[in-house]
């Protein structure tokens, strides 16, 4: 059974369609790139998967269940926003995640914090935006979740941290789990992806494995993306 499945998923903001009859499936054990230009519907899709938005029509299921308290136990979500309470320090945040997520691995989180030289006593409000994003990523990736939904995880950080984040994603999920990475920085993630979903103006333009793209189209995902989303002008 697919870990994440959309059937005719549609979301309208007023009269504007953000997702239009989307059908897709993410199988267990895959790293999937959800790729598309800004405003293509990537964030809307991830928000629906996390119960932050209700679809206008169609269904989205996670492990066969509609988003709710039960699916949130198995989904680890990194939104594009920094959601940490600014008055908390890192230790308090680790306590918070330990309390609410039984699958949170505190040792892993502490190890990653040490590697990135982030002090456990530091308050969020004292951190730069980049450091806040690193802390958030560490918290999200330290869970033993079945499905990781990462919205622009490498958007706002320097290239060295970007490499660390990608290594972190690769080394911190188990083989049964799936990772969906939404991004438009394709070249940086291309080498770690198993599958890609191209999404444009709320429609799925392509869903394929990276191996098939390379074999059949004889090009990289980045090249194909530029081809598919090329502006004619």
């Amino acid at each position: 059974m697919a870990l994440l499945e959309c059937k005719q998923l549609t979301k309208y903001y007023g009269s504007t369609p953000a997702l239009d009859h989307v059908d897709l499936a993410v199988e267990p054990g895959r790293i999937v790139g959800l790729l598309g230009p800004n405003g293509s519907g990537k964030t809307t899709l991830l928000k629906i998967a996390n119960g932050l938005l209700v679809p206008t029509s169609g269904t989205l299921t996670i492990d066969g269940t509609a988003p709710g308290a039960d699916t949130k136990k198995i989904v680890s979500y990194l939104p594009e926003r920094t959601y940490l309470s600014r008055w908390m320090n890192v230790v308090q945040l680790l306590d918070f995640f330990c309390d609410f997520y039984p699958d949170f691995d505190r040792d892993t989180a502490e190890r990653m914090l040490t590697t990135l030289e982030i002090s456990p006593d530091q308050r969020i409000r004292q951190m730069s935006k980049g450091t806040q994003e690193k802390v958030q990523l560490i918290l999200v990736m330290s869970r033993r979740a079945k499905l990781f939904l990462l919205d622009e995880p490498i958007g706002g950080v320097d290239p060295a941290t970007r490499d660390y984040i990608i290594r972190t994603i690769l080394t911190n999920y188990n083989s049964d789990a799936s990772v969906v990475i939404s991004t438009h920085l394709i070249a940086d993630v291309e080498n770690v992806l198993d599958d890609v979903i191209f999404i444009n103006k709320g429609h799925v333009a392509l869903q394929s494995s990276v191996a098939d793209i390379r074999a059949e189209k004889n090009c990289s995902v980045d090249e194909l993306f530029r081809e598919v989303f090329r502006y004619v002008g």
């Binding site: 932050l52 938005l53 709710g68 008055w87 309390d99």
Partner: protein, 267 residues
Amino acid sequence: MLGKLLKYELRATARILLPVYLLLMVLAGLCRLFLELSAQYDAPALGIFQNITSLLFFLSLAGVTALSVLLMIYRFYKNLMTDEGYLMFTLPVTVDQIIWSKLLVAELWTVVTVAVDFGAVALCGAMKDLSLTDLWAAVQEIWTTPGLPHGHLIGWLAECAVLLLLSPLSSMLMYYAAIAVGHSFPNHKILLSFAFYFAFSVGVQIVGSFASMYGLIALGSDWIITETFTPDIPHAFLISMICSSLVLCAAFYLTTRLTLKKRLNLQ
């Protein structure tokens, strides 16, 4: 999970309210100190200090009460409607648990704030002429008045207590509903929250006026016509007030719940 939500909500609010309570108590203590000193020594400077500390104390008293309400409203807005909402609404908890955690903590701090206010007033010396022994003697005197309906008196007091506890809940839920509905729109979220709060207040006033008029006619007509007062009249009045409060609580709770479940629209 409700217990864990309550723990973090209490921690987030206590870090602000406890120092504020402490400050109020310190001001009350200073107020008392200058009151006692100016009573013992005839020095104009002491009188000036007494006036300044008294003014500061009574301003702080009003400030602490206002702050405790504003903080609860701010917590709901900040923790659920801004970026922090991305974490809160992706925790493995239900919307009901989230609302109840905010509501129960707000109720608790309301009760604590009232207790601290009374404590501070007692400490500052405003009630120093009030003797607890005299107060207790007065209560006993009233209690032993012949013909007093003791059972009804306890009932009235219990009904008043329930009403006093329900009142902050319905007020807080009205704020929550206004903020939740206002933030379900794509733009002008804060402005719309104020607009919905105003609309809800007007609605409550209109419905409340009709309900009291009906209550007065239905419950008080016998009393007015026959001039016979029965203990059931205050009971009926208080119970009808409790029922109105419960209806308001239910209406605003369901509005908040439905909006957060179906029309959540975090930016």
